[in-house]
């Protein structure tokens, strides 16, 4: 399964997962209190750049992340420029982008297995609400393996339709895709039962 993790040995790579998540969320929360002024915009960018440098990811990774959210930046900036004064528009857009970049550092510097383990630890208190944390962990694990299976099934449906010369509308794809997916769900349920999942 494709993950967004970038291997490395930076400061952030070495921090324990829980503490790293907390630290990044505190920084993002701090940013959200910045006023809508030019110096705040500059500060937001400085923090974002520092985060990537200290994280050992470098500015090339920061640039890649910026490109990934270019549409979001464009739409946000456009709306801000239409409705707000220039200073507020620049500050608000900078703050939003810096927050996204910094929060993104968590998955860039933490292995999926470590994050999954942290989530499972976080789920433990759910037991008091009558929710079985182990069942939730199983659900997450099963879902991770199901995504590529359904991507393959979906590609198969599309290929079969193309081979028959069918036009690729949304509804004409989704109905057969849902049927093969739900059949897969039934088989998956039986397989789980057979392995002792009640």
């Amino acid at each position: 399964m494709l993950s967004l993790y970038r291997p490395g040995h930076g400061l952030l790579h070495r921090l324990p997962t829980g503490r790293k998540a907390l630290l990044l969320m505190l920084v993002v929360l701090g940013l959200s209190f910045l006023p809508s002024t030019y110096w705040a915009a500059g500060l937001a960018w400085v923090v974002a750049v520092l985060g990537y440098l200290l994280g050992g990811l470098g500015l090339s990774e920061l640039w890649r992340q910026l490109i990934a959210v270019r549409w979001l930046i464009g739409i946000t900036l456009l709306a801000q420029l239409i409705f707000m004064p220039l200073e507020a528009a620049a500050a608000n857009s900078s703050r939003v982008v810096a927050a996204i970049l910094l929060a993104g550092l968590l998955v860039l510097t933490t292995r999926l297995t470590d994050l999954l383990a942290a989530v499972e630890r976080g789920l433990a208190p759910l037991a008091r609400l009558g929710i079985d944390p182990e069942r939730m962990a199983l659900l997450l694990a099963v879902t991770i393996t199901t995504v590529p299976v359904l991507a393959r099934l979906g590609a198969g449906v599309r290929e079969a339709q193309r081979a028959r010369g069918a036009r690729g509308g949304l509804a004409t794809f989704v109905v057969p895709f849902l049927v093969v997916s739900l059949k897969h769900a039934d088989e998956l349920g039986e397989a789980l039962s057979a392995r002792g999942v009640q």
Binding site: T76, A103, V119, V147, F177, L178, L182, D186, Q198
Partner: protein, 211 residues
């Protein structure tokens, strides 16, 4: 109303619907009306609520958001990670959970699956609820006042209305093509899809019972 213990069948369906929403966000030329590209993920959210019902539908969205948060690129355009939860679209994602729940409540709220209730469900849960969470949080994050933010989000309304129409049509078609999808386990909090449930031994039911 409390969710029952998650059985293997439910677990598999929830996992599969989470994956369906992810696959609907994959690039691959899903387009409506020729060249206008729209992300079909909200279609998946609507279908999850309509097919799985309130609790399972909402849970499948929670699972999706957890997996996104830990970095699986499952949102359209391969987005993932904690960043999406601090960005302008955070409220819409939260709205998916509540939206799927409300859709499930409305669509499964009667003794049988009807066309009008399905349409009402996807409109209220799939559009009203999602926008009701999305717009205020977007306004909060970007500090753009509520009015202009709502105006900005109107751009997506035609596409969402279209997806609601498609979701309702697909739900009704699916009920005929694969009625097992709507099968409810006995002794649950869920209401069976048909009141006059002439459910045969393997959970199939005749197509005539669908209005």
């Amino acid at each position: 109303m409390k969710p029952r213990r998650l059985e293997a069948t439910d677990l598999a369906r929830i996992a599969v619907f989470t994956a369906i929403v992810a696959v609907l966000g994959l690039p691959g030329g899903l387009s409506v009306f020729g060249s206008v590209p729209i992300t079909a993920q909200t279609l998946g959210v609507m279908l999850a609520g309509a097919v799985l019902g309130p609790w399972r539908g909402a849970l499948s969205m929670v699972v999706l958001l957890i997996l996104v948060a830990i970095g699986l690129p499952l949102l359209s355009g391969g987005r993932g990670g904690l960043g999406v939860f601090v960005g302008p679209s955070a409220g819409y994602l939260l709205g998916w959970v509540v939206g799927a729940f409300v859709i499930g409540l409305i669509v499964h709220g009667g003794p049988r699956l009807t066309r009008w209730r399905t349409i009402l469900g996807v409109l209220v849960g799939g559009i009203v609820v999602i926008y009701a969470f999305g717009i205020p949080i977007q306004s909060l994050v970007t500090r753009l006042p509520l009015g202009p933010t709502a105006l900005q989000s109107l751009v997506f309304l035609p596409g969402d209305l279209l997806k609601a129409a498609i979701a309702a049509a697909i739900t009704m078609t699916l009920a005929r093509a694969y009625p097992r999808a709507f099968r409810r386990q006995e002794a649950g909090s869920q209401i069976p899809v048909t009141a006059s449930a002439q459910v045969t031994s393997d959970g199939e039911r005749p197509a005539e019972s669908i209005r």
